[in-house]
Symmetry: C2
Subunit: 213 residues, 2 copies
DNA sequence: CAATGAAGTAACCAGATGGTGCATTAGCGG
DNA sequence: CCGCTAATGCACCATCTGGTTACTTCATTG
C-alpha cells in the first residue's frame, strides 16, 4: 500500500514527538510554572491547540515529559551490561555512566528538580516509572552481591543508599554548578574541572564499596 | 511614657523582616516563577505596595531572600568551632551539621535550586555571598590540613571537592526525597530512613578522608 | 468519489499577575 | 503644636497566559 515512509503532511506521531521535545526543553529551562505553553507550541512548530489535543493540559504534558525522561535514563542504564565486567570495573563504569548521562542530558536534572518542587505528584501514579525503576535497583543490587561473593566488595552495603550516593555526587555538582562556581570562586564547568570531579567521584565510591580500594 | 518596647504601629524594619520571611516561604514552595507577589504580601500581613517600596521588584526580592539564606547557613557553620575538636570528630560534626541544617531548613535547598535554574544570576554580583563563602571554604581547608598534619587524614584531598561531596550526599537525598521514594519504593522521609542516611553519609566521608576509617 | 473523522489553524477570552499612581497617616525633629 | 518625611493602603492597569471555540484541510476508506 502507501509508500513506506512517505513524508506525510499530517503526522500525528511526529507532531506529538515534536511537542514532547519542545516541552522538555522549555520545562527544563524554566521549570513548570515558568514554562510557557505558547513557547512550547512555537518551538514544536505546532499549533497550541495540538498540545491540548494530545496532552490535555500543561500539567499532563509535564508528566509525559517527565516519564519519558525517566524511561530514557533507565533504558540507557540497562544497556550497560555490567554483568560482563568484574565487579570493580562494573562499579566504576556505573559511576562514569551516571556522570556522563547527567552531563549530556542536563535537562534530566532540571526536570527532576521541578518534579520534586511539586512533591513528585506527577509521578505518584505513574506505572511506567515503577517498572523501569525496579529493574534499575535490581541491577545495582546484583552487582553488589556479586562483588561481595568475589570478595572485593564490603558486605552489608545497602544498594539503595549506594545508588543514591552515586547519583548524588554527580547530580549535586551539576545542578549547583552556577551557585557553586560563585561560592567556591572556581569555574566548576570548565572541562578540566569536570574531569577532576569525575575522578574524585570514582575514588569516593570505590573507597566506600571496595575492601581494598 | 510608653513601655520601652511599645508596639509601634509603623515599623519599617519589622515590616521588611516580615516580607522577607514570607517571601522565603513562598519562593521555597513555588519557585521564582511560581511564587505570587500577592501571596507574599498576604502572608507578611503587609500591603503589596510595601514589597515594591522596600525591594524594588520580584527579582530583587528573590535576591534578598537568597542572600539571607546563604548568610544564615554560613553563620551557623562558623559557630561550629571545629578547631576545638580532633580532626576526625570535627569532620563527623561537619557532616552531621550539614545534614541537620538541610533537614531543619528545607527552604534553603529549594531556594538554591531555584537560583541555579536561573543560572545563579541573582548571586553573580552579590558581595555578601563572596565574603561568607570564603570563610567557609577556609574552615574546611584548615580542618583538612590539621588532619593531615596529625596523620589521620590522607594528604592531597581538595577541600572544594570534599565540601561539595559533603553537601551533595545530604542535599541530593533531601531534594529528591519525593521522586526517590517512588523510584526506590521506600519512604525516604521516615525518621528511621533519615537516621540511616546520616550514618551512611558519615561512613562515606570518613572512608574518603581518613587513613584508617 | 463522497463522506467521515482526525489533523491542524486562527482568533479569542476570562482571570491572573506584576507592578503603579496617588492619597493618607503616623511619628519625629524643631 | 507644626510641618515634613517616610510608612501605609486602596484602587487600578497593562499585559500575559492557560485554555477554548469555531472553523478549515487533508487522507483514508466503503
Amino acid at each position: 500500500m502507501a509508500a513506506k515512509e512517505a513524508p506525510k503532511q499530517r503526522d500525528a506521531e511526529a507532531t506529538k514527538g515534536r511537542i514532547l521535545s519542545a516541552a522538555k526543553v522549555e520545562f527544563a529551562k524554566n521549570g513548570l510554572a515558568g514554562a510557557r505553553v505558547d513557547e512550547i507550541a512555537d518551538r514544536a512548530k505546532a499549533n497550541k491547540r495540538m498540545i491540548y489535543h494530545y496532552f490535555g493540559n500543561k500539567d499532563d504534558l509535564f508528566q509525559a515529559v517527565l516519564e519519558e525522561a525517566y524511561v530514557d535514563i533507565r533504558t540507557a542504564e540497562q544497556k550497560l551490561e555490567l554483568d560482563h565486567l568484574p565487579p570493580r570495573e562494573a562499579l566504576e563504569k556505573l559511576v562514569r555512566f551516571t556522570w556522563q548521562y547527567y552531563l549530556k542530558n542536563p535537562e534530566f536534572i532540571t526536570l527532576v528538580n521541578s518534579a520534586n518542587l511539586h512533591k513528585a505528584r506527577h509521578l505518584k501514579h505513574s506505572k511506567v516509572i515503577e517498572v523501569v525503576s525496579r529493574k534499575f535497583v535490581t541491577m545495582v543490587g546484583g552487582l553488589l552481591d556479586r562483588g561481595v561473593a568475589e570478595g572485593v566488595f564490603r558486605p552489608g552495603i545497602d544498594p539503595v543508599q549506594l545508588n543514591i550516593t552515586i547519583a548524588a555526587i554527580g547530580y549535586y555538582y551539576l545542578t549547583n554548578r552556577f551557585t557553586g562556581s560563585i561560592v567556591f570562586e572556581r569555574d566548576l564547568t570548565a572541562p578540566e574541572a569536570l574531569d577532576e570531579r569525575l575522578q574524585f567521584n570514582i575514588d569516593t565510591v570505590l573507597r566506600l564499596v571496595c575492601i581494598t580500594p
